[in-house]
Amino acid sequence: MKKRLERFLRMLEKGIIGISIELVYPLIVTVSAFFLCLIMFISEISSR
Amino acid sequence: MKKILCVILVGLLYHPFFSRAQTISAIINNPDLFDGKIVTVRGELIGDIMTGKGGFWVNILDSESAIGVWLPDSEKGKIKFLGKYGVQGDFVQIKGIFNKRCIEHTGDTDIHAISLQILKTGMEKNEEIPVEKVVFAFSLGIVSLAAIGILHFLSRKESPPYDL
């Protein structure tokens, strides 16, 4: 019973960390795309 | 002479004929024509009031399209009903500045209202349930249950019950 509980808690811990990482990765994508956009915007302004 | 002509022109612009409401789809489909200009739209307020800094959002729907309207907090009290299922929202006239890409709201397409006029207060509508539909549903239910029962009885009689 104790071993099963320990195994479940370990699985839960991995799951929580995994979900946290997964929630962060789209934000990283969005921020990176924003920087690409910023470069484009600045280059447009400077060329005008 | 020039001054008199200007006064007449400005007066004409405020004449009901020239300041009549535009449809929302006319504005949306010709955004460059109306960008930054005062527009007048009439329609039903729908959905929800969503608060922001110094004001709130509400969406207005006419016969063709809908658009978001930004209003100052002082106007909130005027709104009684918002359209949804079973509710007819307040029918309003909004005069405001149309923004193709609002600088204040991260590029949103919106109208910043100058005035809000309630033309007709909304109301809660009684649900209209056609009697024929109820009769049909009831009859269908009875016939189907009977048919399912008969089929089940026949299938049990013919062979052992199948496992799902």
Binding site: G18, F34 | I46, T51, F56, S144, I148, L151
Partner: protein, 498 residues
């Protein structure tokens, strides 16, 4: 002699279709309960009629088709192909009874769009639709995204039968050894994110002053359609309704996760966190997202100054590209505004839609896995030329395990890719025939076939009926990735010849 289709196949197929119809009837109990709680008696009656119809026809099919002992691959594929049409018709009934659709065809279009997680809509006066019907629209997206068959897999089918049907649904990744266990895992991931995603959206809307019940309803609907990359929203303005950049960011998180392979979710959730960085598909997805966004940005050169600042420029452009690439179809601008974009920018979005998301996710399109496979295959061919003839060249990639590129894999991927391209072009040509601009027709066709849902305004109730039917076929074919449909066509041809 190779056995061909026979009348016994009809009996087997009918049996399983009967079960699926009953399952769909059970699924409709949820909107019925929502209708009862909300006091929407008209909606309750609509769903009551539909549920009775599903149970009745399902029972008739089960009665006349004896219990089969074993399902073969072809029968599995036929069941998959036909079940989508069955689901479309049976689910369109309560929608049509709501009075929000001019024609039954429009209701069928809506239900197929939901199940295929497309998101193109023909509903009228969505802002006055009952909660029950709205929940049903979004629930169909959820069921369709998980796979109608997966629903049945978990509850109705036996092991061997289940695998054949699972493959027919264009999910050929064995995440776990047993297909039932895989199906259960997919549902577990979906329900976990349902709770997290809905609460996150609800929280953002509560901060916006929405009452809790409305915030929760909107959050739940947006999640179901976002996670399954369907793109339905409870209001006619779609995401533009909320005027909320924070909400848009949350939807980006949800749609990107929805477009990620369930295999990657499984790896990350069980401690293999590096899989997110090392997985071949995720790498290709990131590359194509940035590439298509770059194409869109280049398309906007000369037009950038029309935007007041970088944030509004980013919000308008990136949201459309990520929504297109993941196949979600959420939009924060009007269709007419999208149609006004510079041509290269529209082309960037078309390419993003055409490529689609990851295999074994809720996304549509050609899939980034195939794009990556072509790249690896090309690399292998170039290396073969560079090395002596007698050399044996192998190219590997990491996708949950190390996989070597082989000709059979590339051949299958090529066939499916060509089918997608032909489907995209067919819709574009038909749209042009009806008088629409070619680029916009191509956009709409790709949107339908890749199950995206972005529209430039062509999809409307006034669209020609033939085009509506063609888009229904495109959504269906795109969702099933063709093989199941080819088997179905062959089945009918053989039956007719007999």
């Amino acid at each position: 002699m190779i056995p061909d289709f026979s009348k016994d196949d009809i009996s087997v197929v009918s049996h399983y279709l009967g079960k699926i119809l009953i399952a769909l009837g059970i699924a409709q109990l949820l909107p019925l309960i929502v209708g009862l709680i909300s006091g929407e008696m008209a909606a309750v009656i609509d769903f009551f009629i539909s549920i009775i119809a599903c149970f009745s026809f399902g029972s008739i099919l089960l009665y006349f088709s004896p219990s089969p002992y074993e399902l073969n691959w072809r029968q599995g594929m036929i069941i998959v192909a036909l079940s989508w049409f069955l689901a479309m018709f049976s689910s369109a009934l309560p929608l049509y009874l709501s009075g929000h659709f001019e024609y039954f065809l429009d209701a069928c279009f809506e239900s197929m769009s939901a199940y295929a997680t497309t998101g193109l809509v023909l509903i009228q006066d969505l802002d006055h639709l009952s909660h029950a019907h709205n929940v049903w629209r979004h629930l169909m997206c959820f069921i369709g995204g998980q796979g109608i068959i997966l629903v049945a897999l978990v509850f109705f089918f036996r092991g061997g039968d289940a695998l054949r049907i699972y493959i027919g649904e264009a999910r050929d990744d064995k995440i776990l050894p047993n297909s039932i266990t895989t199906a259960k895992f997919i549902w577990m991931v979906s329900f976990t994110y349902l709770i997290i995603g809905s609460l996150l959206l609800c929280f953002v809307l509560l901060l916006n002053g929405m009452p809790f019940s409305r915030a929760f309803f909107h959050g739940l609907c947006i999640f179901m359609a976002g996670w399954d990359t369907a793109g339905f929203a409870p209001q006619s303005l779609n995401i533009l309704y909320y005027h909320n950049p924070a909400l848009e960011i949350v939807t980006i998180i949800i749609i990107l996760l929805g477009a990620t392979s369930f295999g990657v979710h499984y790896a990350v959730w069980t401690g293999r966190f590096r899989e997110l960085k090392e997985d071949f598909e995720v790498k290709i997805l990131m590359f194509t997202v940035f590439l298509t966004y770059l194409i869109t940005l280049v398309g906007f050169s000369g037009y950038v100054m029309r935007f007041p600042d970088t944030f509004s420029f980013f919000r308008s452009t990136f949201y459309q590209v990520i929504s297109a690439h993941t196949g979600a179809g959420y939009t924060n601008i009007y269709a007419s505004q999208l149609a006004e974009w510079p041509q290269l920018a529209i082309f960037g979005v078309i390419v993003a839609m055409a490529i689609g998301g990851c295999m074994n996710s809720t996304a549509g399109g050609i899939k980034v896995f195939r794009i990556g496979l072509f790249y690896k295959s090309m690399k292998r061919e170039v290396r073969k030329l560079a090395y002596p003839e007698s050399s044996y060249i192998k190219e590997f990639f990491h996708h949950q395990r190390e996989i070597s590129v082989d000709d059979a894999m590339v051949k299958t991927a090529m066939i499916i890719t060509v089918c997608y391209i032909l489907l995209y072009l067919s819709g574009a040509i038909i749209g042009t025939f009806f008088g629409y601009d070619f680029l916009l027709s191509l956009f709409e066709s790709v949107s339908a076939a890749a199950n995206v849902g972005l529209s430039t305004g062509i999809t409307s109730t006034s669209m020609p009926a033939f085009l509506k039917i063609w888009y229904i076929i495109e959504m269906w074919a795109g969702r099933l990735e063709f093989f199941a449909i080819f088997i179905l066509i062959r089945f009918f041809v053989k039956l007719v010849r007999r």
